[in-house]
């Protein structure tokens, strides 16, 4: 019994090492979405440009949808945009854009330069729609399941690893 008591600090230490080690490399400043597995919040937005319709929650039906929150002044959005273009091409599901706290001119020019893969683009000039979604930084990307519930949220730019390990498999899984 005495022996076991002696070893207790070792066990506690091992447990702490295991726990802290598992958290290495995770970014503690990222917030999980409060809406995971819950319905996509009710939003309506004006269209960014005439050629494409605006985005509303009632549009997110009939299959898997991806919503990408972006802005022309956001550098990581620029970095991830080629992957968004690829996602729209390869995933076979509609990818919508939500333009956050931007001006129409700058946003449209940005899309002309980098490509416009979006099926619908919402224009959120004040950021209030973003707040209703729990957006706190751009870019952010949501994957919505066929039941209209948010299944995945990425805060920060999409990386090739996230595309491969999280997004594509999830979309394929949800489509079954």
């Amino acid at each position: 019994m005495r022996r076991l008591l002696f070893l207790l600090p070792v066990f506690v230490f091992a447990a702490l090492v295991a726990y802290f080690g598992s958290q290495l490399g995770e970014d503690p400043s990222l917030l999980p979405s409060t809406f995971i597995d819950k319905p996509f919040p009710e939003i309506t937005t004006a269209p960014l440009k005439e050629a494409k319709p605006g985005l509303a929650t009632s549009d997110l039906v009939g299959g898997v949808h991806v919503v990408n929150v972006w802005a022309s002044w956001c550098i990581p959005c620029r970095a991830e945009h080629p992957l968004i273009n690829r996602l729209a091409e390869e995933a076979g599901v509609p990818v919508h854009g939500l333009n956050y706290k931007d001006t129409r001119e700058a946003a449209i020019a940005w899309l002309d330069e980098l490509g416009d893969p979006y099926t619908r683009i919402g224009f959120d000039a004040t950021g209030r729609v973003g707040i209703d979604l729990g957006v706190y930084g751009v870019p952010e990307t949501y994957i919505i399941g066929p039941d209209g519930h948010i299944r995945f949220k990425r805060v920060g730019p999409i990386t090739p690893q996230i595309m491969q390990e999280d997004i594509m498999p999830l979309i394929k899984g949800l489509q079954k």
Partner: protein, 158 residues
């Protein structure tokens, strides 16, 4: 000159609220300030939205005031923000089953330390009474006899 130097040592309150954000009703504005002080700015994460100059902080300050004007109670405003951003947006973590460890672990640790001290003191008391029982040397009667025999042998061999 001295007054100037002294002034530098006084900390000036930091507020990020701009004049154009303030509500006309001073009571409501005061409530807005109180609520803002307890909401975390998610961009800076260590400042409240009342202190932070970040854009999101300003948006949330305006949102708080809007909700108050629409008639929400303080608690309803907090619930509104927490529904969208989760408990982490509160600078005071709520006490619920998921935060029991956060709140109570220091006391649990103190209790464990306390128990450890009690055991250690008992051990010491036992050792002391053993010492006293043997006339201050800490040896039992048997061991005393053996020691005396060894010392006698030692003296004889000198």
């Amino acid at each position: 000159m001295l007054a100037g130097a002294l002034f530098l040592t006084v900390s000036v309150p930091v507020i990020a609220v701009q004049p154009d954000e303030k509500l006309a009703d001073p009571e409501m504005e005061a409530r807005a300030r109180v609520i803002s002080k307890d909401l975390r700015c998610l961009v800076c994460q260590n400042q409240s939205i009342d202190d932070s100059d970040a854009e999101l902080a300003k948006d949330l300050r305006l949102l708080v005031r809007e909700r108050l004007v629409e008639g929400d109670s303080n608690e309803e405003v907090f619930d509104f923000v927490v529904a969208r951003y989760g408990d982490y947006v509160l600078l005071k973590p709520p006490i619920k089953s998921s935060t029991y460890v956060l709140w109570f672990f220091p006391f649990v640790l103190l209790a464990i330390a306390g128990i450890g001290v009690v055991f250690w003191l008992r051990g010491k008391a036992r050792a002391q009474s053993a010492m006293a029982g043997s006339g201050g040397s800490g040896l039992s009667a048997d061991e005393e006899a053996r020691l005396s025999a060894l010392l006698r042998d030692d003296k004889r061999s000198e």
